[in-house]
Structures are given as C-alpha cells and as structure tokens.
Symmetry: C2
DNA sequence: GTTAGCACTCTCTTATTATGAGTGCTAAAT
DNA sequence: ATTTAGCACTCATAATAAGAGAGTGCTAAC
C-alpha cells in the first residue's frame, strides 16, 4: 500500500524529526543527498503519506510531523535489529567484587538507562510472591521491642520492628521462632498468611501461653503487603526534552511520577519481551503524548520485574530498543547467575 | 532603630507578600484596616524601610518586596511562638498497631510535611556510626552465594549478598559467624573496619583455612560506607509555587535534588534545634533564591537525623517553623520511646 | 512521472502603542 | 512636626500591527 519511495521518505522524515524535534519540510529534505528528488516531488509524496495517516501537519503551512500511526509503522517495520554496544558491562562492573547488592544493581541500571537516553527510566523490582521462606528470625532488642527478619531463597531480606506484647518471655520467642521456621520453611510468600492461619495458629495454641495477642501480631507482621519497589533513574533528565518546555506539562508529569501505585499498574508487563506504547496507546491520561517502553527481566525462579523508559513520542526508538534489550539481558544474566537458576 | 510603626508595616508587607507573591504597594496597604494611615504616609515609611535594607523594589516604580534582611528580621523577631496543631498524630497512627517501621514512619512524615506546606521536604535518616552490632548472621543460599545480615542495637537491619569464595565450607561459615559475633557484639559501626582488621583477622588465621581470600570479602562486606538515606516528600508539590513558573528554575532545582551527596552535606545539621537559612545564606548556588529550614530529630542513643524543608524565600515561616517543631518532636518521641532511651 | 514557479497561509519575531499600578516629591492640612 | 492630597513620572505588562520566513498546494511546463 505504500511505495518504496514513500517508505523511504517516511523513514527520513521520522529520523529527522526524532533528531530535531522540528517539523520537517520538503525543501530541507530534497537538499539531503539521501533523497534525490525535488522538493515538489517530495511534497506530493508527503501529501499522500498524510492522507494515509502516517504524517500530520501542525498547521496548514507547516512541515510534516509523524503521526502516532507513523511512529507505530516506524517501530514495527522501519527499524532493523541493531544491537547496541554502549551500556554493556555496567552491571558486571558492580558485581565482580563478589558483592551482589540487588538494590544497587537495579538503581545503577536505572540511572544508566536514563543517562544514556535522556528519558526517564523506571525499574520495577521483582514480584516476590513466589519466593519462598529460607529463614525467619526474631531478635529482641529490649524488654519491649524486637525485630523480625525474614530471608527468602532469593536472598531478599525483609524486616519489621515491633513492640512485644506484654507477658511474652524470651523462651516464648524461641519457641515461636522454632515453630515458624519449622512450618514456614519453603513456603511461598503469597501463601504465608494462609499457612500461618491454618498450621501455625494451632501449634502456638498448644505450646505457648498468652497466644491470643501474639498470634495477632504475627499475622500482621507477615501479612503486610509485599509492595513492589520502584527505582527511578534520572527523573530530571527528561526535562532536557523540548517537549517539556512547558511548566504545566512538567507539573502533570511529576505528579504522575509520585502516584506510585498507578505507575506500577502501568508498567506491569506480564508478557515477555519488549513492548512499545506510543502516545494514545497508553491508558493513562498524563502520558498520552509520551511513549512508554517496557521490557521484562528475570531473576530466576520464575520471578521477574520490569524495566521501563518514558520519553516523548518523538523517541529514539532505534537506540532505545536495542539498549533496553541489552540491559534487560544483562540484568537477567546477572541475577540468574546469582542463584544458579538458568531459566 | 526601627519605629513601632515601621515594624508594623514591615510585618504587614511581609505577611502580604508571603501570601500573594506579588509586590505590595502603598495604596493597597492603606486600604487594609490594620494600618490606619494614608498611602502617602506608608510610602514614606516604606522608603525608610528600603533605605535600611529591609525592603526592595523589583523596579523603580513597583511595589515593595521583602529583602533577605527583611525576612531574617521577620523570622528572628516578628513571629511569635505559635504551636501548630495540624500534623500531630500522624506518626502515632502509624505505630499504634505495635508495628514500627522506621522507613515508613520517616517517609510518611516527609510526605505529610510537604503536603501541608506545598514545599519540598527531605528527611535525613539517622547517622548510624554510633549504633552497635547486635547480631551478625551469614546464611548460605546455595553453594556459591550467601547473604550476610547485621542487626544493630537500634533495630536497623543491614544486609548484603555475596558470592562465596571457593573452598569455603559451611562449617567454615559457622566458625566465622561465631567469631564475628563474639568479637563484634557491641562494637559501634564506625569502628567495624578497624576491629575486623585488628582482632578478627588474627582469630580467623588461627582457626580457619583459606582465610586470605575470605578476609578480604569480609572486610569489603562491612566497610561499605553506611550511606545516610534520604527520604523525599512531594518533590512535585513545590512546583505549585509561582517562583517555579520558569522551566530553567525547575531544571536546576531537580538537578540538585538528584545530587544526593550534596543534599546530605547541605542538610547535616549538627547543632540542635531549628535552623533557618534564607536565600544567599545558603552555600549552594541552586538554592540561593530559596529558603532552607532544618531541624534535628533524635532516635535515642545519641543518634540523630535531620528534617528539612525547601521553599521560596517567600515562605510561610510562621506555619512552617511550628510545624517542623511539632514533627521533629513527634518523631523524636516515637523513636525514643521505641527502645527506651529517654535522652 | 517529475519539476519549476508562484500565490497563499500561518507562525514567529520585532516594534509600537496603550494601560495601569506604583512611586517620589511638593505643598497644603492637621 | 506629622500627615495627607495631588500630580508628574517610571516601568512592566498587554494588546496591536507589521514584516520576515518557511512551507504548502496547485498549475503548467519539461
């Protein structure tokens, strides 16, 4: 439906606009040596491309700007696979001293991604529903307070401080910890509340005194929702984009960035691979004029998180896509290697 | 040096400007029933106040705007103590189920502070140099990887994952943990590297095999600087201030907010109590047109952190000062209570 | 099918001209 | 000796007008 020449022109226009952010006109195009046609010819083709919906004008006599349909076509057909070299080795550098700091790896990756692109990157920590309990420990800090620590098989550590119910002795705690470890070892986090309710409760009744109150806080302790953590990289970098030259635009963007649960929903990327959402393809009002790219990474054991990048629809898709592919692979590699799961 | 009437006028002008952000003129002032003088009289007084440096004009024929000296005088002499009622109970609500989540308390406080003021709040986590080791644990996750957990007497939990040096058996780990707990219990965090070097090293030499490599990673493990954590509240709220109606202003502000170490330096508030830095009183270029208020809070055991609020020099000092006093007290209360230290 | 030529459109910049809030100063009023 | 009214003057801001420039669409020639 599109001639080769039209495709070629479309590509050049989009490349140019991505680079300059200014509507591109026929004269300027014909001067480029990539297109050996006169301005008039190009004008005709552009008119056709506009009619087919791939281009738009900002006003009657302006140059052309890619439409969302144009970008979509560009992303789907016009950019070849081009593996990106930059950014590789970022994570390796962090882990090659043998110390593996999940938070630090993710944070660094997010910052690198943003730095290399000048867009805003967001990384979603892995969902930990499926991680299982490796060890539970309760450590008294004083007569009244204690800290409970839970380690998962993936090496994540959750901890929570709390006040000890009155009348709980240190031997009680010891018993409790034994019961918990005995019964909860290997249990997936999402099953915890249920298992506590069904198995642990009765055991506690049998072997401990003053259980009623204790049971309550144990439940609270482990029922706290395991919120997915967000790691932002360079929220300020996106301000360099000319699209953000408007104060209200900035306001609405930053306001959205603070509504973390909405962001989480936005990013949850159940399907594998890389997904590109251009402009109105996004559900959320505030980014209907932006593009969102998400990619998943895996930490093994079926757990995964999401890497995302938000920028203007006029995004350097070529660069970004290969970069995200690289980083997602790198993260999956680093994490997977970590605990031997080669999934 | 200033007459009562001048003081009164100064106060009204500042109050008005804080509220409206617009230069205040003599006509408008004389209409207010607080000042029973004609516009001309007020003009004369304003001219005097300008000569003494308390007021400024934005251009020859504009209304007056408080100078930094004016704000300074206002803060030092013109606002009485007025305990703020809002915001109290925020933290109590979080802790009264017996669960004490340090991060959550601080984060909530920061958000509340920003929400109530529409400025940007930053809370510095406590410096933990003086916290002491309560327990150290190393938990193997697989043949190759393990996680080390350190709990302090204040209930903070630090953890780090790492790859096990080859040739380290699980009995080695057990020995190691015993040595570490034996020697490091009660040792302040800032002394850790030293103590490890002097005491632990020799013991390890004596009782363990293949120590050379192990020692190295243990040192790395605990030498990682204990970075002070920053908690931001509502970075977007400050955008509501008319002072931030300029894109470049926003850019430079957010750029600063990402240079976390600079922020930490800026906020470290060694002296007790509340400190107000107005405009050029600040060292950092990017906030020479803003005001910074810092207050310290204590978590007991001599450890403390800092609460800070950044807003335009045209800040609601009255409200902000009492509010910060309240929150700082509330946090100190909640935390101090926590582990029985009533310092 | 391609291109040169030309009239036309629309934005953006710059210059010009009000408009109005506010000041400083002088002279009259209290 | 203060206080106040009156008035000329200043400067920022808003509104209007006039060009300049880039780009388009269409027609006619190549």
């Amino acid at each position: 439906m599109l001639t080769d020449r039209q495709l070629m022109i479309l590509q050049v226009i989009i490349d140019d606009f991505i680079d300059s952010a200014k509507p591109v006109g026929s004269r300027a195009l014909s001067k480029k040596d990539t297109l050996p046609y006169s301005a008039a010819t190009i004008r005709n083709e552009m008119a056709d491309l506009e009619e087919s919906g791939f281009l738009e004008k900002t006003h009657t006599s302006s140059g052309r700007v890619p439409s969302e349909k144009g970008y979509r076509y560009y992303v789907d057909h016009l950019i070849g696979p081009e593996i990106h070299q930059h950014g590789l080795g970022i994570i390796e550098k962090l882990t090659n001293n043998g110390i593996y700091e999940f938070e630090q790896i993710v944070q660094t990756a997010a910052e690198a991604l943003s730095e290399l692109t000048n867009y805003t990157s967001i990384i979603l920590g892995p969902e930990m529903f499926e991680a299982t309990v490796k060890q539970i420990q309760v450590l008294a800090l004083s007569d009244q307070s204690a800290v409970a620590i839970l380690v998962t098989n993936t090496g994540h550590v959750e901890h929570r401080s709390f006040t000890l119910p009155t009348g709980v002795s240190s031997s009680d705690i010891e018993k409790l910890v034994n019961i918990l470890n005995d019964r909860l070892y290997g249990v997936a986090l999402y099953k915890l509340p249920e298992v506590i309710q069904n198995e642990v409760a009765s055991l506690m009744m049998r072997y401990m005194n003053g259980v009623d109150s204790s049971l309550n806080w144990i439940r609270t302790l482990f029922t706290q929702e395991q919120a997915v953590k967000l790691y932002f990289g360079g929220k300020a970098n996106i301000l360099m984009q000319p699209e953000f030259n408007d104060v209200d635009r900035i306001r609405s963007f930053y306001a959205l960035m603070e509504r973390e649960d909405e962001i989480v929903n936005l990013l949850k990327n159940s399907n594998q691979g890389i997904k590109v959402s251009i402009g109105h393809e996004n559900e959320v009002e505030e980014i209907k004029d932006l593009s969102l790219i998400t990619a998943s990474y895996h930490i093994g054991g079926g757990q995964m998180g999401t890497i995302a990048l938000i920028g203007p629809t006029r995004m350097e898709y070529k660069k970004v896509l290969s970069l995200m592919q690289a980083i997602s692979k790198e993260m999956t590699g680093a994490m997977g290697k970590w605990y031997g799961d080669k999934s």
